[in-house]
């Protein structure tokens, strides 16, 4: 078989595999029945209407948004300066720091969650929203560091040198030249950090207190127990929100170029 035909056929399979699960969820979420039967017996908005009364899910979603906002804010405050420091440094110490900051991306988050729980309990600190945010920052800050480093590496040095030679102070140059140029990178990293915190289960499982119900954990536990159709409606809402946010970030920050 020809190379182009083989590649095209496999790519088509991959494309279908990537796209169809999301479409299936959207279709099932409009079912009029009580089961996840596909195709649905009829269509209605009943499961979306049922979300209006699902206070447990609403409470969990609000918690997840709060934690993700705090996590994103702290990740940007800690991650951007660190990225500036190591982006253009060739020193061995900078390389070590780079590997350290990236390591939460490959190490099992669940092991880290357990380790952090043991750490806080050894210090005598009970789990709380604070310990939860700290744990989330560790696993989410790598995204901010990575995209910021990439945008600093693309800076045109001539611009910074001309700003300095025209008498601008380093702080002024940073505020008026560097920051506007690397802002899309920071924005893209912050967005991924937010999504990743919002979606986190392994760290939240260990570091949340009893009152902090988180949306992905609530959904996971609902799915372990019974196959509730309202989860399909929640999923439908989440897919639409993610898609809209993604298109917005593509406009604002050129998201797809920064994820590679």
């Amino acid at each position: 078989m020809g190379l182009r035909l083989t590649m095209g056929a496999l790519a088509a399979v991959a494309f279908l595999l990537l796209v169809s699960p999301g479409l299936v969820v959207i279709v099932v979420s409009f079912t009029s029945g009580y089961s996840l039967k596909f195709p649905p017996p009829g269509y209605s908005l009943r499961w979306y209407v049922s979300l209006l009364d699902a206070w447990q899910l609403q409470f969990a979603a609000a918690n997840s948004v709060k934690v993700a906002l705090w996590t994103t804010g702290l990740s940007v405050l800690l991650g951007v300066p660190a990225a500036l420091a190591i982006a253009r440094s060739a020193s061995a110490r900078a390389r070590v720091l780079d590997s350290l900051f990236m390591s939460p991306l490959v190490l099992p988050a669940l092991s880290f969650g357990l380790a952090a729980l043991m750490f806080f309990s050894a210090l005598g600190l009970p789990v709380s929203p604070l310990t939860l945010v700290i744990g989330h920052v560790v696993v989410c800050v790598p995204f901010v560091v990575r995209t910021t480093i990439a945008s600093v590496a693309q800076l045109d040095l001539a611009l910074l040198e001309s700003s300095a030679s025209l008498g601008a102070s380093r702080l002024y140059t940073f505020r008026r030249v560097t920051l506007p140029l690397i802002r899309p990178g920071i924005l893209a990293g912050a967005f991924i950090a937010f999504m990743s915190s919002f979606d986190n289960v392994p760290v939240s499982l260990f570091l949340r207190d009893a009152r902090s119900d988180m949306l992905p954990i609530r959904m996971w536990q609902d799915l372990e127990g019974k196959l509730d159709v309202s989860i399909a409606a929640v999923s439908g809402v989440m897919i639409v929100v993610t898609l809209s946010a993604m298109i917005l970030m593509e406009r604002l920050a050129g998201l797809s170029r920064r994820l590679r």
Partner: protein, 275 residues
């Protein structure tokens, strides 16, 4: 540009020392606790227990299956992406990015709908008359591998797009003009030059697949135990912290070993691609 001082990294370095490295050190310490003293008994229990070793082996094997599947489907997708016309690229990129950013619980839920007794696959098989009773597709290792591959393909495709778009397309034409067939050109030029991307994507997919707690537990069900769930059960349901810590350390060590293999392959492939 005057390089920024390294001390700008101090706050994050301090944060990591306190909340990342110190917890890992405590994890190691707890794994050695045995009654009043410290020893390696929890590690011995793991390493001489066929059940535990089976869980570790099954988890590492699952990672290999998922990575192979992601490469088989992800490579052609990246190959088509770099050769596709301008209007098609945003469509393909959207298809790759949307799953990456969608919640893992949502994506896994989709697979429950697809593979369930009343799901698409079973409806299709029943209506086509291939089977009389719905097949059990959920809670099988194949089901877990396919669901995980769908969840992780974007991690393979993105580095591959970067690697493939760096290859000079003139090389393709040159190889064709010199009389090599398209396949020969692929095996001798495109594939070797894209090795750094394959290694980078393979590392991300493998690490994500073996630690994918949610997909493993929901699609795999109760009977199929993988390392993350094993750790979680020991830590919470059984409250056996020292053993849970020891399993975590073994798992971390296994992941680090895999990472270093991939890194070594990466160095090798880059020298190969540069030569």
């Amino acid at each position: 540009m005057p390089a920024y001082e390294l001390r700008l990294a101090a706050p994050l370095a301090g944060f990591f020392a306190l909340f990342f490295l110190a917890p890992l050190a405590i994890l190691f310490y707890v794994s050695l606790q045995n009654g009043a003293g410290l020893d390696l008994s929890h590690y011995a229990r793991f390493l001489f227990d066929p059940f535990s070793l089976g869980v570790l082996g099954r988890t590492l094997l699952l990672g290999a299956e998922v990575t192979a599947l992601c490469l088989l489907l992800g490579f052609p997708l990246a190959w088509v992406y770099v050769r596709s016309p301008g209007w098609l690229r945003p469509v393909l990129m959207l298809a790759v990015l949307l799953p990456l950013l969608t919640s893992v619980v949502v994506r896994t839920f989709a697979w429950i709908v697809i593979l369930g007794r009343q799901g698409i696959v079973n409806s299709a098989l029943l209506s086509l008359g291939f089977t009389d009773t719905p097949l059990r597709l959920l809670y099988t290792e194949g089901g877990v591998a396919v669901a995980l591959a769908q969840v992780q393909i974007p991690l393979m495709v993105l580095p591959l797009i970067t690697a493939l778009s760096r290859i000079d397309t003139n090389l393709d034409d040159a190889s064709l003009a010199l009389g090599a067939g398209a396949w020969r050109g692929f095996w001798r030029i495109t594939l070797p030059l894209s090795l750094p991307g394959i290694v980078a994507g393979g590392l991300l997919t493998y690490a994500a697949a073996i630690t994918a707690f949610i997909t493993q537990s929901l699609v795999g069900g109760g009977q199929m135990l993988f390392m993350p769930m094993y750790i979680y059960q020991q830590a919470t349901a059984l409250q056996n912290w020292p053993f849970a810590a020891a399993i975590s350390i073994v798992f971390l060590a296994a992941v680090l070993a895999v990472v270093s293999v991939f890194n070594a392959l990466g160095r090798l492939s880059r020298t190969h691609a540069d030569a």
